[in-house]
Amino acid sequence: MTSLLDTEEEVMLRDAARGFLDSAAPVSALRTNRDAGRPHDPGLWREMAQMGWAGVLIPEPLGGADMGHRAAGILAQEMGVTLTASPFLSSAVIAATALRSAASDRANDALSHIAAGDETYALAIDEAAKHAPEQCALRAEPAGNGYRLSGSKTFVADGASATRVLVLARTGGIPGEAAGLSLFDIDTDRAGLTRARLDTVDARDHARLEFNGVEATGDDLLGETDNAMHLLRPALDAGQAALAAELTGLATGVTDMTLGYLKERRQFDRTIGSFQALQHRAAHLWAEIEVTASAIANAGRVLDETPDDATLAVSLAKARATHTANLAVREGVQMHGGIGMTDDHDAGFYMKRARVGAEWLGDYGYHAARVAAARGF
């Protein structure tokens, strides 16, 4: 295992990302987007694509920057610091990894569009309140030379704004089985597909998708029939690791804000950060963030070096990040006192995104159980 420290290139990437995001996407940009009812700023995504972020996991011949999963994690982490909303995770990480694993001409064509920033993707997997890919019941019935998709998906990240969607559908087996699932790559304008954006607490794009006999050709099938997990597993690993990185950045962002407040707010004629009761809580929180940062770096390294054996590293990162972000936002709001409860203050934005990030792609229990299974109990 190589070192978990950032390399020189990674430090440069991190600094460059931080500089760009501080000016182009501060937390105030999230407020502006929310007040305008806009899940993210398409102009910002175009700029990110020009910097190579949309193609961070896409091969260079297809227009990507091919920087790897550790780099993708660094970008996601920095976006988390300022709660930057973008199609990065759905398109550049999850869809790009699935398409890259498919290794077909059509998938390569799709990858070049993601890298260029002119197509964005959503991944439609879950149908109930908890992440459980193998519980998929949406059916893809054979029809003519293709399939007809019927069923519904919920909590589809970027589902209302994406131009294309990867849909997990059942071509065999029964809900609960990982076998018998297939992955389809379809455009979101297709007849029979209706999309309704959910009004979620984090003000980002999450949608419910209804499939009423949506037609898909054999060409729309990504990879082999009944074997979606072959593509979905690496895509979910990549997405979970990047989401964990985002949550860790989020924890850092809200904690820096909280420490700043502790050093400035005065009560009882002293700076409140001088109270030991608050100092110890802040110090504990910092320790948790440091421990989580190691798991994040490790997940990126493992995905780059031994991607077929990444479950333990990825689930460890997502479990830790979920736990740490939750602690950071709870402490952040509490230590800000009354001001932290107001909509005018940014602390609440961190709390809401942390809650959504905790659920997306598997909650703490889901990932802790996978860690335990990988460790033999």
Partner: protein, 392 residues
């Protein structure tokens, strides 16, 4: 001395072959216990011949102190090579041939602050397990407030005269020498009047008394100094600058207690232990949930230790962040032992029962978050020095 440029894979093969050829079968894959540790010293008796053979062979190869210079009896290895050695020993179930405060603490301090005579005199006997050291830091009135040490060393011209008392001196009753913090200037501010002094425990006037702990064991002692004459050349570094050495060693000690806490990473594996229990305790949802969370945190903490070691190795040092490693590692270790005890149920309640020495181990972990600076002092250090929160 291994070549620093040697290919890591080849180094791994060679070290693996050497361990298999040299570590006696009887020592391999044995559970860690009190009497499996070799501490060395003038009065040391080996449990069996295997321990003696393994130590002799490790000394000849420089493996008792893998990274120390060969001129002092070390192995002259790079950090990467030491890491490979540790990994291979752990994989092959070979125990450490020698453990001691000399290896962990005094050696590094002498290499950083000692003069050439002191290094030549003290380092080689440490690597050979001939001299066992203990640490004289805490006093009845200097626990968390360590800089308040009152044990005096008066300059008598040709020697120092030491009077006072230390407490929590680990294994002082079995140690040959002690490194201690003593007050050499009573008028200076408390951090500025402390010196770092080495004393032979056989010097007239030094007595020890073991302290019986809740675990039933007595790893700590009270140590008394009554008109003890100490040669002046036994003072390490500059007079009245001993606090610098103390801080350096405390950083070292905290990393060690944080990560090395026996049973945390090198000892009992949570999953394996739980699996080996008669009843399927993992079907208890509370124990299961706690075990999963403890496993998550243990793995992430192990990665954090590695990350900080890499950082220190790259020249960044660990500094005040060692307080975080100490705090997190010891609290985690206590949590794990609470979990092991509840998982094992009444089977763990005998001093020496079905699960070996689990009960005394569990009680011993309670000291982890006190010795070397309490968790609360660690949090103070993080708050003030790392997060730069204001003082009252």
């Amino acid at each position: 001395m291994p070549d620093a440029a040697i290919d890591p894979a080849q180094f791994r093969r060679e070290i693996c072959e050497w361990i298999i050829a040299n570590c006696p079968e009887g020592l391999r894959d044995q559970p860690m216990s009190e009497d499996s540790i070799v501490w060395g010293g003038r009065r040391w008796t080996f449990r069996d011949d295997d321990q003696r053979i393994w130590l002799d062979r490790a000394i000849a190869k420089g493996l008792t102190a893998p990274r120390w210079p060969t001129e002092y009896g070390g192995g002259g290895m790079t950090r990467e090579q030491e890491k490979i050695l540790r990994e291979e020993m752990s994989r092959l179930g070979a125990p450490p041939p020698l453990e001691s405060f000399g290896l962990w603490m005094l050696g590094p301090a002498l290499m950083a602050f000692g003069n050439e005579t002191q290094k030549a005199q003290h380092l080689p006997p440490i690597t050979r397990g001939e001299i066992r050291w203990c640490q004289g830091y805490s006093e009845p009135g200097a626990g968390s407030d360590l800089a308040n040490v009152q044990t005096r060393a008066e300059d008598m011209g040709d020697h120092y005269l030491v009077n006072g008392q230390k407490v929590w001196t680990s294994y002082a009753d079995r140690a040959d020498w002690i490194f201690a913090l003593v007050r050499t200037d009573r008028d200076a501010p408390k951090h500025k009047g402390i010196s770092f002094l080495l004393m032979d425990m056989e010097t007239p006037g030094i007595t020890t008394r073991p302290i019986r702990l809740i675990s039933g064991k007595s790893p700590f002692c009270e140590t008394f100094f009554d008109n003890v004459k100490v040669p002046k050349e036994n003072l390490v570094g500059e007079v009245n600058r001993g606090w610098d050495i103390a801080k350096y060693l405390l950083t070292h000690e905290r990393e060690m207690i944080g990560g090395g806490a026996r049973g945390l990473l090198g000892g009992r594996s949570l999953g394996a232990f739980l699996d080996g229990l008669d009843d399927n305790v993992l079907s208890d949802p509370v124990i299961r949930a706690e075990a999963m969370a403890a496993e998550v945190d243990t793995l992430a903490f192990a990665m954090t230790m590695e990350r900080y070691k890499d950082h220190a190795e790259a020249g960044g040092g660990v500094g005040n962040a060692s307080a975080m490693l100490k705090y997190y590692g010891t609290e985690l270790n206590k949590r794990r032992y609470e979990l092991l005890m509840s998982a094992a149920g009444s089977g763990a309640l005998e001093w020496d029962g079905a699960h070996g020495a689990l009960a005394p181990e569990w009680l011993r972990t309670k000291a982890n978050s006190i010795e070397g600076g309490t968790s609360e002092v660690m949090l103070d250090i993080i708050a003030k020095r790392v997060l730069e929160l204001p003082s009252a």
